[in-house]
């Protein structure tokens, strides 16, 4: 008689290198996760106070996983703005991830499409900064090593869990959370702290400074277009600066 028990699947791969990289990823994202928690709380409170139904807000919290576009689109959804405006706003605010996805392709391009999509979905802002600092070079052929896979998931799942817990706490404890203390600014400090170690050479510092100035000068533009302008500036100035200082 055939056994009815399912084949036993381990929750985590047995590979020791994978496991220690996973644990290290969890530790390395802990600081930045403070910022994720702060933004999750802020977003959760904003969702609860938006006047939208609890089921809808919970679905958004669990599925969308993008604080900037959630915060920007909440008021639009609440007033019943046309769907294309909501989608366009989210698209512009997420445009930076399109650029990040080129980088991720170098690391994970050799894996199947489903896995590539799952990994990129989990890769919010803090993940790229930490991962690239630890692994400046992709593995050959875009087939991530067990260390890289474990480290990525350690970073990404910790960050995801921090986000979900904080976002749900924000929704259910909206009245008890003192947003006036400047909780949102902890998220800003976290992104700043993640960006600073990425200023690795003179050309990058130069393009980043130009991008920062442009982001401020165009801050009044709608839908986060100032971030798009800043990225475009970084491309132009960066290519110029690389030719000047990093002749390949």
């Amino acid at each position: 008689m055939p056994s009815l028990s399912l084949p036993r699947r381990r929750l985590l791969p047995a590979d020791a290198a994978w496991r220690s990289a996973f644990a290290r990823g969890g530790r390395d994202i802990a600081g930045a996760a403070l910022g994720t928690v702060a933004m999750g709380l802020v977003t959760g409170v904003a969702m609860r106070n938006s006047g939208l139904g609890l089921e809808l807000v919970l679905a958004m919290s669990l599925l969308v996983f993008a604080s900037a576009s959630q915060l920007a689109c909440l008021p639009l959804i609440a007033v019943g703005a046309p769907l294309w405006i909501i989608a366009a706003t989210a698209g512009v605010l997420n445009l930076r991830f399109v650029v990040f996805s080129v980088h991720w392709r170098r690391y994970f391009g050799g894996h199947g499409r489903g896995r590539r999509m799952l990994l990129s979905y989990l890769a919010g802002d803090p993940i790229y900064a930490r991962f690239v600092q630890r692994f400046p070079q992709p593995a050959p052929g875009g087939c991530a090593t067990p260390e890289q896979q474990g480290y990525f998931l350690g970073l990404a799942l910790t960050n995801w869990a921090a986000w979900q817990a904080a976002s749900l706490a924000g929704i259910f404890l909206a009245d008890a959370i003192p947003t006036a203390w400047g909780l949102r600014f902890v998220g800003v400090l976290a992104l700043l702290a993640l960006a600073l170690p990425m200023l690795v050479d003179r050309a990058v510092r130069c393009s980043a400074a130009a991008a920062a100035v442009v982001a401020l000068a165009t801050a009044s533009w709608p839908m986060g277009l100032n971030v798009v302008m800043a990225i475009a500036t970084a491309f132009a100035v960066g290519i110029w600066a690389d030719r000047r200082w990093n002749q390949a």
Binding site: A66, F97, S101, F185, V188, A234, G238
Partner: protein, 117 residues
């Protein structure tokens, strides 16, 4: 025939669905094609400058602008918190956790202790 849902109840759900789709599609954009995507030359060249620029672009207005204006009073808890975080970062290269905690502590002390804006 009456619809099972009133349109105004359905619209927010469609909006959430749209947000999910936009998030998934933008994050996986260049990971979707099976073959290696052919990128224009300028995109390849400038690519390494994009991530840090995007992160800084998101924080700059939050640090320096208050309802669209530069702060009139230099006693601004956010500016002081960023200054403290930068000093810590330069003193201890690359310690992300310490940088965030230093900035947060400065912000809280100045806002709650001294009542700065």
């Amino acid at each position: 025939m009456p619809l099972p849902f009133a349109a105004e109840n359905l619209l927010p759900w469609l909006a959430v669905l749209a947000l999910v789709l936009v998030t998934v599609l933008t994050r996986s954009f260049f990971l979707l094609p099976h073959g290696e995507p052919r990128l224009p030359g300028w995109l390849r060249q400038g690519l390494r400058h994009a991530p840090v620029a995007a992160l800084l672009a998101m924080v700059m207005p939050e640090i320096f602008l208050n309802q669209g204006h530069l702060p009139a009073d230099w006693r601004d808890a956010r500016l002081a918190a960023v200054a403290a975080a930068l000093l810590y970062h330069w003193a201890r290269r690359g310690d992300v956790t310490g940088t965030i905690l230093t900035g947060t502590a400065t912000l809280l002390v100045l806002r709650l202790g001294l009542g700065w804006a």
